[in-house]
Amino acid sequence: MTEFFCRRDLLRAVGATLMLPPFLRDAMAAAAELPPRLVLFMWANGTHLDSFWPDANFRSFILDPLLDDPELRPRTTVIQGVRLDAEGNGNEHDRGFHSFWTGVTPVGSYSDSYGGGPSLDQIVRARLPLAALPYPTLNCGVHANVQAPKNGHRTSFSYVGPKQPVPTQIDPYRLYAALFRMRGSGDPMTRLRHKRSVLDFVAEDLRLLRGRLGTEERAKLEIHQTSLRELEGRLTASLTPGQGTSCARPGEPMPGGLDLRADANVPVLTTLMMDLAAAALTCNLTRIVTFQFGYCGNGWRFGWIGINQDSHGAIAHLDLPGGDPKIAEQASRIGRWTTEQVAHFARALHAVPDGSGTALDNSLLVFSNENATGYHSLENLPIAFVGGAGGRLTRPGRMVDVRHPTSRAWGTNHQVATTVTRLMGLEAEGFGNRPACGPLQGVV
């Protein structure tokens, strides 16, 4: 793994409820005023839609891991009728990644296209009072960058600016260390004073450089400044003394040697990353999470559910209307397995009391895919909201068809983002290059 990572820290942690380091207490104290948690799950390669959409009994093969759970069922809203409204370079995999959550035309070339502006997670982060949190946003996933040299533009769907992807953390050891490792030794106040003097020096360097740059280059500097402010917030939170409180933190990730690129490790990596991300949310170390299941176009073989074939080339692409029922069945089971992971995540949030309800009640999980179908259709994207969004999602437990009642015009990803922004307690008339698109019809 990593030489800077200290194994002892992992071994020291036991997977139970622990006295929290003081910084968590401070974060929790601030939680009362915080907006709902937001999680954007992105899975890839489309799905078998006939198995996705719930029937009259609000059941579906793919979604049953959510809909069969008596606690999750009433907290799930299935969104039908959204089309990805995206143009410009890239194919449908790329468009899902560069445009779903940015809502703007991509930059880059045909074969190498990137988001053309910040994505929803970063936009919402900038608008919400999250500065006191150690990690205002957390971008993580599994196998997100396994093919980085060939598919650099498919390693993240989160962007801070045009062609500026937020790197996706795929290493549970690293993530654990970032979230739960107490760094440094000695007197915390001394350490804080030392670190602040360093950060002040760096901030002054950045300020002096700013005047020497044009607009576009300044934007890059501002990203750096934001990162620096967050780092300082993290330091302050982690080193300020306070009284302990308790919060469930996950056990150590499996000891070393877990190959982060191996296909067979996808299930264990998914569980590890999800447990860490859920803990970060329930401990109020973060409030916004992106979670990426592989890169778009990944060929996970799903040997762990008895499939063991290239799920992109040999399954998704062959899952055609009226096609081979065996392929449809495999595509459906892949969807169901993915839903199981999301349900596991939702249960982890639901297990934690939060205000008058649970952490899940004060969260919005958006479960979506970069394609609608395996054959690259972007119409009728499979989307589900899980959680109560702090009570703003007033009538969950149903499917909503967001198409226009008479014209049957599609809802759009811009409207999804507008709806999500509003559910986060922020005003929004539109999103990206559709500033007046309004929210999805009938969801809130």
Binding site: N145, G152, T190, H317
Partner: protein
């Protein structure tokens, strides 16, 4: 088991310019005007590889290896795109942790001694000057040292002199002047010339992936980087170092999509001969091949037409079989390729195997490598709403080519006619890069065609003939110039760069010209040494 392939389908036109602007013919500018620099005054964040090299230079081999940094975005295969490289939260986290660990490892007694008779303040200032200069690759400004003084004061309370010095080092290692290469020049309106230190840094990162070493620093101090001749002298000197040769290898592997090779996997149920050892030997062979070609001048002919290679024993046994004239007695021994079948980097097992799928050849992947990376054609990915036919690897009655051809429906042909015929020409090399005359008991047809520009309908058969066609092609030579320029400039070109690209294309006249010719022309060019002050 069935397999599918995305047949690239093209509704609209297939070919366009890379970047955000439509193609513009490259007309040389009127000579009296010269070329204006297209690159703005900017900061270019170091890649994680550059960061690691810089740290290794500063601290020596004893420091912990830098790892855990998020992967850099790859644009057009290159990891150094100046727009895409930002100091994201995760990057800053890692840089902060690394700075703390590195500062803690500093041997203060040796690096920042403070003999009796000097004040600690003076000693700290001396350290800030020396360490800062090495870290930033330029002399420290008095104001910077002054501000570091406050960091020193904070650090030595209560840790004393040593902790104060360590904290200064920590600050330097997180400064933007350390994390970025600055390309700011002297400011002012319009065009600005890079400072000599910036120019040295630019040369050094381009050619060695690190900050300037002692020789280049001495050249700056002696004022030798003020004109094109001075630059050329230093460039030629740099290119003569092992470090530059190693770094050039990285350019070629990124360009040719070979950075995936060390992680390549194959489906063991279909490619039983694939082992990790075979893959690792392929990786080493590519490295040795490139090292040899680079040492021989790195002309296009040396890279793409070389007839010697250095395989491992397993690769020789499993992949080459009779395609080498002698068997290596030991791993990596020089052998001659049978040039009727193989020639150059594209014919190496590692290249052919990387540009394949896990269980079969991919005429599309191989075709795209040539069309996009080697000929600079832009091919659109398949648009929406299409039904994608499959390539059924369980169908043991037909060749991959036959399956692929039968699926290239008319609507797909607009793009696939530019891609597949190239890949078909390599069909006599299987997913491990092994020669085959038959596939599924059917004869393999490896007649191929290069499509595009003056290469239209140049027929070839197999990798050796492909190499010959490419090496005779102006399009290929010019694309190479463009790719090297993109890598040197750390960005894609726009219309504004047509001028410099036209100049450079004049400078590499044949495939036998050594690479140094082009690099000298590139680094002597006024656009290399200047920046545009953007609003």
């Amino acid at each position: 088991m069935r397999r599918a392939v995305v047949l690239l389908l093209c509704a609209a036109g297939c070919v366009g310019a890379i970047g955000e602007t439509p193609p513009t013919p490259l007309e040389p500018p009127p000579a009296e005007m010269g070329c204006r620099p297209g690159t703005p005054a900017r900061l270019r964040r170091l890649t994680t590889d550059e960061y690691a090299s810089v740290v290794a230079d500063l601290f020596g081999a004893a420091v912990p290896r830098i790892s855990g940094f998020p992967l850099d975005p790859r644009v057009n295969g290159f990891g150094n795109d100046a727009t895409a490289l930002v100091v994201s939260g995760p990057f800053l986290d890692e840089a902060g942790h690394a700075a703390e660990e590195l500062a803690a490892s500093l041997p203060i007694e040796r690096l920042a001694p403070c003999p009796a008779g000097q004040t600690e303040k003076d000693c700290a200032r001396a350290f800030a000057h020396g360490f800062g200069q090495r870290a930033y690759g330029r002399p420290m400004a008095a104001s910077e040292v002054e501000r570091l003084g406050s960091v020193f004061e904070a650090g030595r309370d209560p840790g004393g002199y040593q902790e104060g010095v360590r904290l200064m080092a920590e600050a330097i290692l997180q400064s933007p002047h350390f994390l970025y290469a600055t390309e700011l020049g002297g400011g002012g309106a319009g065009t600005t010339r890079l400072t000599q230190w910036e120019l040295a840094s630019r040369l050094s990162f381009f050619l060695t992936g690190a900050r300037p070493g002692p020789t280049l620093r001495a050249a700056v101090e002696a004022g030798r980087l003020t004109d094109a001749d001075g630059i050329e002298t230093e460039v030629r000197h740099l290119l003569d170092t092992p470090r530059a040769r190693q770094h050039l290898r990285g350019f070629f592997t990124a360009w040719l999509g070979l950075d995936d090779l060390p992680f390549m996997t194959k489906d063991g149920s279909r490619v039983a001969e694939f082992t990790r050892q075979l893959r690792d030997e392929m990786t080493l062979e590519v490295r040795r091949y490139l090292d040899h070609a680079i040492a021989a001048g790195a002309s296009l002919a040396a890279i793409f037409g070389g007839t010697l290679t250095f395989p491992g024993l397993e690769v020789a046994r499993v992949v080459y079989e009779n395609d080498i004239l002698t068997k290596p007695a030991v791993d990596g021994e020089e052998v001659s390729l049978d040039t009727r079948r193989r020639k150059g980097i594209l014919s190496l097992p590692g290249t052919l195997a990387t540009h394949s799928t896990v269980d079969r050849t991919s005429p599309v992947d191989r075709g795209l490598l040539v069309a996009v990376r080697l000929l600079c054609q832009e091919i659109a990915p398949p648009p929406g709403g299409l039904v994608i036919p499959a390539i059924d690897t369980d169908d043991l009655t037909r060749t991959t080519r036959a399956k692929q051809e039968s699926h290239a429906a008319a609507s797909c042909a607009g793009c696939h006619d530019r891609i597949d015929p190239i890949g078909f020409g390599l069909e006599n090399m299987d997913t491990l890069g092994r020669y085959r005359a038959t596939e599924n008991n059917k004869p393999v047809d490896s007649s191929g065609e290069l499509v595009g520009s003056e290469l239209d309908f140049r027929k070839f058969n197999g990798p050796a003939e492909l190499a010959d066609r490419l090496l005779a092609s102006n399009t290929f030579r010019e694309c190479f110039v463009t790719q090297l320029w993109r890598y040197a400039e750390a960005r894609l070109e726009t219309d504004a760069d047509a001028c410099v690209l036209a100049d450079l294309k004049q400078s590499l006249r044949t495939a036998d010209d050594p690479l140094v010719t082009l690099i000298v022309a590139l680094t002597r060019h006024p656009t290399f040494t200047s920046r545009r002050n953007a609003p």
